[in-house]
């Protein structure tokens, strides 16, 4: 009996594999392949809408922003991807620098402020996210919070700070700090925060949790992590966002953005997709559902957020902070990163 079972099982495995292999052939004329570093929960409703509107079949590969970028680099010119959609400007900038992103049509680029897109037109921001200081509501009176990120070097914050130094948005913020305050000030700031016993968290989610349960009192994160937590855990959730003052590096607005691959088979569909993501509907979706900042004119920011006009982020071109190498060197030299 048994050997027959084994043979049967082996045959089954083979057929299953062959069937599975032939099942998914990559797209024809009306298709589009997106590699997304943003998660399905956030992005899929927009994709569904796009498919409905255009009849284009969109296949999305979800993963971490950097992993998806690394995958595209390894795939080389054989990459099936048409569009790369990343969480931060850093990975987009790297892909552009490696020559993997094609120039976007000017009409598309012109729809948003030039600060939020590549100077060479190879990637474009789709939604904005602000850096904030999330604080524990029990231990911290928001009125006493400094209006500049620079002031957290004060010893009163000793042992009370958390951050996520491996996070791309954090690194973008450090780049902004270098540009605004200069190399030496940035170094001094990193060293001082480290001397204040800043605790490393693997990502923004974990950092925010730590602020909420009082493990630390303040964490430097992106603004929108708060809202799913409030939705799931109710108003009792122990952390809230604080925005540092106008023009402060701590109020940097970064983007999640996209680019079209140089090897894209479906360039036209890819352009339509980006247009869709910058449509009023989609931008409204970002404002309402993902609690991000819309990047085109005329869309209301979510009432819970400080509008961009009041936020007054530092005047920095994101093209300038997509080059991370200097920042990484600095982070390593100061021992913030291993």
């Amino acid at each position: 009996m048994r050997p027959r079972v084994a043979v049967l099982a082996a045959a089954l495995v083979l057929t299953a594999l062959v069937a599975a292999s032939t099942a998914c052939s990559s797209g024809g004329k009306d298709s589009l392949i997106v590699y997304s570093g943003r998660s399905e929960d956030l992005v899929q409703p927009l994709i569904d809408q796009f498919e409905e509107d255009t009849g284009i079949d969109v296949q999305v590969k979800y993963g971490e922003t950097a992993e998806m970028a690394a995958t595209i680099l390894e795939e080389g010119s054989n990459s099936p991807a048409d569009v790369y959609y990343g969480q931060d400007a850093g990975a987009l900038g790297y892909l552009a620098q490696e020559g993997r992103l094609a120039e976007l049509p000017q009409g598309l680029l012109d729809r948003i402020d030039s600060r939020f897109r590549a100077r060479d037109g190879r990637w474009i921001g789709l939604s904005g996210r602000a850096r904030v200081v999330a604080y524990n509501v029990e231990n911290v009176d928001p009125a006493t919070l400094p209006s500049s990120i620079l002031d957290f070097t004060d010893e009163e914050w000793d042992g009370r700070i958390g951050w996520a130094p491996t996070n791309g948005s954090f690194q973008a913020f450090v780049t902004a700090l270098r540009l605004i305050e200069g190399e030496d000030a940035a170094r001094a700031w990193l060293e001082a925060i480290k001397a204040n016993g800043a605790k490393d968290y693997p990502n923004n989610t974990a950092a925010l949790e730590a602020a909420a349960n009082g493990e630390v009192d303040v964490v430097f994160v992106n603004h929108y992590y708060l809202y799913p937590a409030l939705a799931e855990q109710g108003d009792g959730f122990g952390a809230r966002n604080h925005y540092t003052g106008p023009g402060d590096a701590g109020s940097l607005v970064n983007v999640a953005g996209a680019g079209i691959l140089d090897s894209a088979d479906n360039r036209e569909n890819a352009e339509r997709f980006l247009e869709h993501m910058l449509s009023e509907d989609a931008q409204q979706y970002f404002a309402d559902e993902t609690f991000e900042y819309p990047l085109i004119e005329g869309i209301e920011t979510h009432p819970d957020l400080l509008p961009l006009s009041e936020l007054e982020p530092p005047d920095i071109d994101l093209s300038d902070i997509s080059d991370l190498n200097g920042t990484l060197d600095l982070l390593r030299e100061t021992g913030v990163l291993p």
Partner: protein
Amino acid sequence: MAVIALPGRRAVDIPIAVIGLAVLVAAAMLLPAAYLVMRVLGEGSAAWDTLSATSTTDAVVRTSLLASAVTGGAIAIAVPAAWLTVRTDLPLRPVWAVVLALPLAFPSYVGAFAFVAALGPRGMLQDLLSPLGVERLPEIYGFWGAWLALTLFTFPYVLLPVRAALRGMDRSLEEAARGLGKGSLSTFVRVTLPQLRPAIAAGGVLVALYTLSDFGAVSILRFDSLTRVIYLQYTASLDRGAAATLALILVAMALLVVAVEGVTRGKARYHASVSHRPPEPVALGAWRWPAVAFCGLVALVALVLPASVITFWLVRGLGEGESLAVVREATLNSAYVSSLAALAAVAAALPVAILAVRYRGPLSSALEKVTYSGFALPGIVIALALVFFFANYVTFLYQTMALLVFAYVVRFLPQALGSTRSSLLQVNANTEEAARGLGYGPARVFARVTAPQMLPGLSAGAALVFLTVMKELPATLILSPIGFNTLATEIWSATTASYFARAALPALILVAVSAIPMMLLVLRERRVS
């Protein structure tokens, strides 16, 4: 009546097919290493700078310390637990047998997170203790936190083979020792333990290599192991050359671990004699309740605690009006691909194990060791290596289920190999020759005599692979066909967006589904005895 078989002696007819298959498997297992070497060579002298940096040396030292400590801790938990659940009259023995195997089902990125939520300085435990005036618990971050989490989530790697070895071990040896006037403890240390050495070593290798490869637990518990540094190279600077250089160190460390295991394993060539009687339990007497307390404590921290935390997330989310996403498709996908991978891994392990056990020699032992080279690598390295080879050279398989299953086999083959190998060691080679003498050719002998005797080991190996594929994330994200979601990717997707409640349900289902093969294994044991 234990008999020492000398299976190494057969020089006749090493089947070419077996050698061919084993070489093929080993070649597949070397793909990631080949990719790394290629990237490192492309780096030139920069690779040398990365290697010789003090930060690298420090990370290597830290990682080695962690791997050693976790391996030691896992053995210290697993060996007594195995003995208690196999050889004694511990109350609810079969329940403990399943329960203590289950911590392996927790993905380390989920388990460690739940760990922090529960035991962190201001975690749930502190919350419970706050009426007593406990404001803060001691830090669990760093070396000891990573050590504790990894030990608790990996000790079943040792538990399973040691249990199997205890069950297959000839009790008369122990009885002989008792007859010579040795006490229980002395018998265990001097007779039982040496017999268990190959099983402990086989499990210990898996623990050590898993620890080397782990990213989830060390990143959440903030321990800068080599994988974290590698990961950083990818995420922060997309520096594939530096990442490859560091990853190659992991390959070297893996081979070192395997070499150490080879020495520890010794020249064990054993099989249980046919006169083996099913064991009669040792009466624990007054030690009954301390023994229950030991098993209970381990189960509490390694299983009940994370499961409760996840359940809490779920309930809290539901309370706030979160709706449950349907994860039926992801559950089926996970179970399906994990089953395929488990079968494929066992099938791939067989030729390597046969060669290593029945036809000992430098070639077979080299092939066997090589298959371990990938297990110490973080999933992302293996995934990117396969992306490179398949997207560019074997395009028709790229982003297919076949490649995904192949990737799982490359990543997890050692888990199947260990138990396959040791189950083959327990098969008396004379039974195979007896069948040849009765007119059966090699293939039929394998099907009718060898494979049925190996079945417990093969299923244990398959169950282990099933379990780890269920929770595998990086290779799944990168290599799966587009639109193929698993429970692990659902969990990842929800947690990256900070939705704990949405992550909780797939996480609980993942653990529950992983429990199924474990339960089947234990039930099967009971039927046999």
